[in-house]
């Protein structure tokens, strides 16, 4: 039985070669991933992080007209308060109503842990359906029900006939994988098993009687439109500004662009099958989904890195264009765009040339960003990826070719980041959301690796990040003053030794 037929999805750790503890360089990382030594690596000291449930909730909270039932003890959903604000903002920026997502916790107690939480789950789903009338109810299955062996799939199967919403199970117990990115698979597994992904007659379209004079023309029209339609798969780290940039570029090639699955509704998701191509914007986000769609609907897909910086954007565009015989147009578009963007970034490039930069965050993005900034004349002191898996191999082969001597770490650990910042002394750190405050307390300038407020992709993204770096460096007083008053929790001896001393094989 394949992964797609199973009710519970595999975690990344079983599906791919994966790791979260490494220090060396890009080539070494690729080799270590291939040979499997990465799997053995671990740490003797860990700091708290997120889990796959956090990212699963983050994605689910963006889906239109949905409600979330967190099947868990009372604490697990707590971060939905902040996620809900974030997704409301994402909705507003995409011209949708910025309403928060309703959510419930089954609030498992000691008695439920012993006696099972299935009845409670059933009641909660029914309540969510009655009270909020959502189109989709996401049932988020966490650690506790997974350990006690609740048959949530059976509950979901039973409840489907009793509620008007579509019920989608999302299995994301944190203990099953330390790698947060496993959430992408957990989320897509739920979507592909729980929702219709192709249009329904009379609901989504009006079938014309066979042989009617209009039928043939209409079908021809539809086929043509479909042959020019691409689905582009987004994620929380890909903001509305990125979507606009990607839409602008692909539209310029004559393609019709639709974004899935975040900020989509149930009705929109039924159109997934009606495309000529599925396009990924990140190697480690959506291969699980895109492979499924190829298997199910025969829709081919393209996974070609992230469109960050001139070289990667061109490569990404051409990989898509090739599928439509539009390479020439794509290259011409890239030439034109690069010409405009080069002029625009010139004054900034002068100001950032030679600046020492440390880059931390999602594995594909840090690789792409590092080579881009190096090509623009910055000095990349180090790359820190949150995790590594097979999907990121092409990106790190590229890093290995372009930045063979640059230190590469696979680490989401703040103590190691702190050590690297204190010892490498970067002029600027480009870092993932959630770490900016910690970096500011070290007195070092930093900018976001991504943010939903501005584009990072394509040509406007390149312009924007350079402009932001220059802006950051215009006044660093806040951080300098702040850092003088912050005491770090780490003993000073640590900074005299190896940053990665707690990584073990």
């Amino acid at each position: 039985m394949g992964y797609y037929e199973q009710s519970v999805p595999p975690v990344r750790d079983t599906r791919l070669k994966i790791g979260d503890s490494y220090y060396g360089d890009a080539c070494g990382l690729v080799d270590c991933g291939r040979e499997g030594c990465l799997l053995q690596k671990n740490r003797g000291f860990w700091q708290a992080n997120a889990c796959q449930m956090a990212l699963t909730l983050m994605m689910a909270a963006t889906v239109e007209n949905s409600a979330i039932v967190v099947h868990a003890p009372g604490g697990c959903g707590a971060l939905l308060h902040s996620l809900s604000v974030q997704s409301a903002k994402g909705r507003a920026r995409r011209g949708k109503e910025p309403k928060p997502v309703p959510w419930l916790s089954t609030n498992l107690t000691e008695a439920d842990v012993i006696g099972g939480g299935e009845k409670k789950l059933l009641e909660t789903i029914k309540y969510a359906d009655r009270e909020f009338r959502p189109e989709i109810i996401f049932v988020v299955v966490t650690c506790a029900p997974s350990i006690i062996g609740d048959d949530t799939e059976e509950v979901v199967r039973q409840v489907r006939s009793q509620v008007s919403a579509d019920v989608v199970s999302l299995y994301c117990p944190g203990f099953r994988s330390r790698v947060v990115a496993s959430a992408y698979d957990a989320f897509y597994h739920g979507i592909l098993r729980g929702l219709e992904l192709s249009p329904k007659p009379w609901v989504d379209y009006r079938p014309l009687p066979q042989g009617s004079p209009d039928a043939e023309l209409a079908e021809e029209n539809y086929r043509f439109e479909k042959s020019r339609t691409v689905n582009v798969w987004n994620a929380t780290s890909i903001g509305p500004g990125d979507e606009e940039e990607v839409r602008r570029l692909l539209t310029a090639l004559g393609l019709k662009v639709r974004f899935f699955a975040e900020y989509s509704s149930r009705d929109e998701l039924r159109m997934v099958s009606e495309a000529a191509l599925n396009v990924s914007m990140c190697n480690v986000h959506d291969d699980y989904m895109l492979k499924f769609l190829e298997e199910k609907f025969g829709t081919p897909y393209v996974i070609a890195g992230m469109p960050i910086g001139f070289r990667h954007t061109r490569q990404w565009l051409v990989s898509i264009a090739e599928r439509f015989g539009l390479e020439k147009q794509a290259n011409a578009l890239a030439d034109y765009e690069e010409k405009l963007a080069k002029e625009a970034i010139e004054p900034f490039v002068e100001q950032v040339r030679g600046k020492k930069v440390l880059i931390c965050g999602g594995v594909v993005r840090v690789g792409a960003e590092a080579t881009m900034l190096a090509e623009l004349g910055l000095h990349v002191l180090g790359i820190r990826a949150y995790h590594y898996d097979d999907g990121a191999e092409p990106v790190f082969e590229d890093v290995g070719r372009n930045l063979p001597d640059t230190p590469v770490a696979v680490s989401n650990q703040l103590f190691e980041l702190t050590h690297q910042i204190k010892t490498l002394k970067p002029d600027i750190v480009i870092a993932h959301n959630g770490t900016q405050g910690y970096i500011a307390k070290l007195g070092v300038p930093s900018v976001q690796l991504w943010s939903v407020d501005s584009p990072f992709f394509g040509y406007t993204g390149t312009y924007r990040i350079l402009r932001r770096i220059v802006f950051e460096l215009k006044n660093t007083s806040y951080r300098e003053r702040l850092s003088r008053h912050v005491r770090l929790p780490y003993r000073p001896e640590y900074f005299e030794g190896d940053a990665f001393k707690y990584i073990r094989d």
Partner: protein, 435 residues
């Protein structure tokens, strides 16, 4: 069996424990559960409590055993052991508290005996059991303080006749805990007392270690921290009194008199001076307050600590008409009974449930020419009430967890200064609409 919850305004015992520890000077958490719990729970208050953020060693800096499937199957005590040893090596702290989560409790890890091994070697390491099914965040606060004061710290030999400890306000889940504690400390200090508040930046680890020698514990909650104070009295012989958090001059006058009486001190000079200052400001604002007709019906939606103080302030100091007070924490019948009095409370948690109750208690006009509704209305609650307020055409101020539409530093609503702040914030919201 407790029921499911809609958008719970609390999290698990571990969340409360971590939020509490993050504000205790020199105290380091060691989270014995998956890597996710620590980050997720810290984020819920770091962003959901007026952007409280991370402290000295909390959030993504907090040490965590990060158990995975292997430990779930084979037990996680070896991993915990290694994590504690390396935490002691890397992290500089005065007390290390191992806090467990659901899965390590379910598999039966004995965190306490692992902690005891280190304690026996002379390292300050203790363990608390904080799975979600032991209670919510408010219980987590009590569990941590109980472990520190009633288990870890030795019985007190001497007594400082002027020293008081303040309990009851729960870091993060009382979003204004720091500002409130600062004001309580300021006022009690002006009576001539020394005050341990534990959670404000002015406090040090010495405030924790000196706590057992206090002469009085003041619990600013009718619900939270009382069991803690009872056990504290049994162990260290320190009596306690329970008081509402005083907001505004009337409540604060009473509070100061009560404490002064207990110590045989005279509160009147302090009360006179504070009232002179309060009314010096409040009086001038009367022009705007009255000319602009800022009289409201009020509905409060808060945790149990804020419910009565807020209703009282709105009623007594502002002359508003409080029509509903909702208490959103999950309470036992006994705890609910403790909140009975002049201001009737309703006990509901869900945003939708509360909105429905408001509409039921106070139907909107159906287009009648003459209709006695509750306009103008002010809903003082959490950020979650914003939509409810919008739907009713009401003003709205966030004061209770979760608060994510404002950033809070040292602002508090307790005491005289806090009364002015609350007055400013409530009226400021109305003024800002005028733009």
């Amino acid at each position: 069996m407790s029921d499911f919850l809609e958008s719970p305004r609390t999290a698990c015992a571990l969340a409360g424990a971590l939020s509490t520890i993050s504000c205790l000077p020199g105290v380091i958490p060691i989270i014995h559960t998956t890597l996710g719990c620590g980050g997720n729970l810290a984020n819920s208050v770091a962003f959901g409590s007026g952007y409280l953020g991370g402290g000295y060693c909390s959030g993504a800096q907090a040490p965590s055993s990060g158990v995975t499937e292997t430990e779930i199957v084979f037990g996680g005590t070896d991993r915990l052991h290694e994590q504690i040893r390396n935490t002691l090596e890397l992290i500089d702290g005065k007390l290390y508290i191992v806090a467990t989560g659901c899965m390590t409790e379910m598999i039966g890890d004995d965190a306490e005996s692992v902690a005891n091994e280190f304690l026996d070697e002379g390292h300050p390491v203790i363990a608390v059991s904080t799975p979600s099914f032991k209670g919510d965040s408010y219980h987590g606060y009590e569990i941590v303080l109980d472990a520190i004061f009633n288990r870890y710290l030795p019985k007190s030999e001497d007594r400082n006749p002027r020293l008081v400890n303040i309990f009851g306000l729960v870091p993060g889940y009382d979003p204004f805990f720091r500002g409130d504690l600062e004001e309580i400390e300021r006022l009690l200090t002006s009576l001539g007392l020394e005050v341990n508040t534990f959670f404000t930046p002015s406090q040090t680890f010495e405030n924790i270690t000196s706590a057992p020698s206090a002469s009085l514990n003041i619990v600013l909650s009718r619900v939270w921290g009382i069991t803690l104070a009872e056990k504290f009295e049994q162990r260290h012989g320190t009596p306690y009194i329970i008081s509402d958090l005083p907001i505004g001059p009337e409540a604060t006058d009473e509070f100061l008199r009560r404490i002064a009486d207990w110590f045989g001190l005279d509160a009147e000079p302090v009360i006179d001076r504070e009232n002179r200052i309060f009314y010096g400001y409040f009086e001038r604002a009367a022009d705007a307050f009255c000319d602009q007709d800022l009289k409201f019906y009020a509905i409060t939606v808060t945790n149990s600590n804020y419910a009565i103080p807020l209703a009282r302030f709105a009623t007594r100091e502002l002359g508003w008409v409080v029509v509903d007070s909702f208490v959103t924490d999950k309470l036992t019948d006994e705890q609910k009974a403790a909140l009975s009095g002049d201001y009737p409370m309703q006990f509901l948690t869900g945003v939708q449930e509360i909105a429905r109750a408001i509409n039921k208690n106070h139907p909107n006009s159906r287009g009648q020419r003459y209709f006695d509704d509750i306009r103008p209305l002010y809903i003082i609650g959490s950020s979650l009430e914003k939509r409810t307020a919008n739907a009713r055409g009401a003003m709205h101020l966030s004061v209770s967890f979760p608060v994510y539409d404002r950033l809070i530093t040292d602002r508090g609503y307790a005491g005289y200064r806090g009364g002015l702040h609350l007055f400013e914030d409530l009226t400021g919201k109305v003024m800002s609409v005028k733009g």
